[in-house]
Symmetry: C2
Subunit: 345 residues, 2 copies
């Protein structure tokens, strides 16, 4: 049954902090009925976030009376629940609304909210809650399934969007492809996946491998990456995913002109060529693998700048490159199909 | 107060599966009063494990009436509790004995055992239980503290033992050094540390950094490594630790003649030189770092073979090398002291 979702953003309208909200609006347009931001009520999602057109911003749950689901639309570092939002979640639980959260702090662990939900019959869906307890055995892998993994040079450079757009493009073209979600937003959109960054460390590689084992009846898996190998905070998650998936191909995602890591002061990002070599080195420890294309995130560039960067990087690295939102996913889809032929799958 | 510990091994006498038991006997000889293995009762620890001399093997808890602590002496992949051992833990809980466990499956989550412990007043110490929730901020690091991290080419090659022996040797020589434990056995011996492989993935790098922040008032930190960067199961933990600690120096541990990874079928270990380059590449993403010595685990070699390997590898790689158990830790301690001088700390 289709949900009627209010996405809570409450003051977080920056493209990075509203990442979950933006992508819910973009990829589940039939389900999102409103955004909740008491400081921006009356505006439209198009005005505020650049997606969603006339979708309305409301000031309170009362202003979206038909909604049956409240979804938390931010993913802050650390994953904690902003204290001011508790009141809203409590209200939603009392109204019998389903609560969907991707935070590390589980909403279902909040006794008052959990009790209110139990009383009203509301469901609390903590997307990051998991009980992964398998290590990676490197057995039973279907080598006829092409595993394409998106990686990148920082958080929030478009790995999920590239995976999703590519998989949808493959399906539209008649291929048997699946987008494999590894983060809370992807899971909220796709309805399944593994919240890899919330798995107990010993089982990170194993839970990534399980994603492959569960989905390898498809011909193509487009598996979203997390973080980056060079991020002091999150490299552990990135490598566990890369090694557990043991992909045959990588698509490297980056944002031109973005030279320092997010979340940290003055932590420079290595040059593209070095990043590609690093990912290929680490991936090849598990399985023969190469970078087959580049996903450019040109959200902050003009059309002219984006076209220039695309030509420049294709020339410099000899790889197909495009912005899947601006240019469409076809150039990268063609790269995936060519690679499948090259491998004889 | 000194504990009186019975170490449960029950059929696990192989040096790898009895790793925790062997190292408890080796490093806490004043606290371990017996080993429990119903199939080997009457033998001595020296006969069974090669450490502990005349320490006795008992068949049941009744045979060690003065013991106040039951410690689980194995670390199986996956960390689950062998079903047959539950009965024993329940008996220990009923007798009011403290239970110490490093398994991923928490003993305190077993309702029957927990209730028995609550009734008798026994304490259950699940060493892997943690609530780490900090990411790595790369701030406040004391650059005058020398962080030496042991890494290796597989699990169970001696990373903990090298760290511990080196730190104890430094202290004996009058230096201010601390062994920093990152695994259950190390924590049981040292009394503090972080069970890094049991931390939620997003916080692995952060909890490693917190180990540094908490201990950097010492001049030397000898921090045990986990797994290896090339292990399909555990590479995520290894990298998170390496990046979170951001060490200035590494000691590379290996077992000569061991060419395939444990726990897996036919997974070859890359050559030493490649492994050293890999670790230096990954470590230098966070902080200038180099390998300053090699810890050889020659438990399966003759004295002659060990001496040959030591000479060979020192010649080939131009680094000091020794087996800290067979040769003593002094050659590696000297390497640490020289490196401290070289860095001007």
């Amino acid at each position: 049954m289709r949900r009627k979702i209010v996405v809570l953003i409450e003051g977080n309208t920056h493209p990075r902090s509203a990442k979950t909200a933006i992508n819910m609006v973009r990829y589940c347009p039939d389900e999102v009925v409103a955004l909740l931001d008491s400081s921006q009520a009356g505006k439209t999602a198009g005005e505020l976030l650049g997606v969603g057109g006339n979708l309305k911003i409301v000031a309170s749950l009362q202003d979206a009376p038909l909604a049956d689901t409240l979804l938390i639309g931010i993913s802050p570092p650390g994953g904690e629940l902003p204290a001011a939002w508790r009141r809203l979640l409590l209200e939603a639980a009392r109204r019998g609304m389903q609560i969907v959260s991707g935070l590390h702090a589980f909403i279902s662990d909040d006794q008052e909210i959990a009790q209110a939900a139990a009383k009203s019959g509301a469901r609390i869906l903590d997307v990051r809650k998991n009980n992964e307890r398998e290590v990676a055995w490197r057995e039973g892998i279907n080598q006829k399934c092409l595993r394409i993994h998106t990686v990148g040079n920082d958080c929030n450079v478009g790995k999920m969007v590239v995976s999703l757009e590519l998989s949808r493009a493959l399906v539209r073209a008649g291929h048997d492809s699946k987008f494999v979600a590894t983060g809370q937003t992807g899971i909220m959109i796709e309805g399944d996946g593994c919240p890899i960054d919330a798995v107990v460390a010993d089982f990170v590689n194993g839970s990534a491998e399980r994603l492959v084992l569960k989905n390898q009846h498809h011909k193509f898996l487009l598996i979203e990456g997390q973080g980056t190998l060079v991020h002091p905070m999150y490299s552990s998650v990135t490598l566990g995913l890369l090694h557990g998936l043991a992909p045959q191909g990588l698509i490297f995602c980056y944002e031109p002109g973005h030279t320092k890591l997010r979340h940290l002061k003055n932590f420079p990002i290595p040059p593209l060529r070095d990043m590609l070599r690093l990912y290929e080195t680490m991936a090849n420890l598990m399985h023969p693998c190469k970078v087959i294309g580049l996903g450019i995130n040109s959200r902050n560039a003009t059309a002219q700048e984006a076209a220039y960067e695309r030509a420049r990087v294709q020339e410099e690295l000899g790889l197909p490159a495009c912005d899947v939102i601006r240019d469409g996913p076809e150039p990268l889809m063609d790269a995936v199909l060519r690679y499948q032929q090259e491998l004889g799958l």
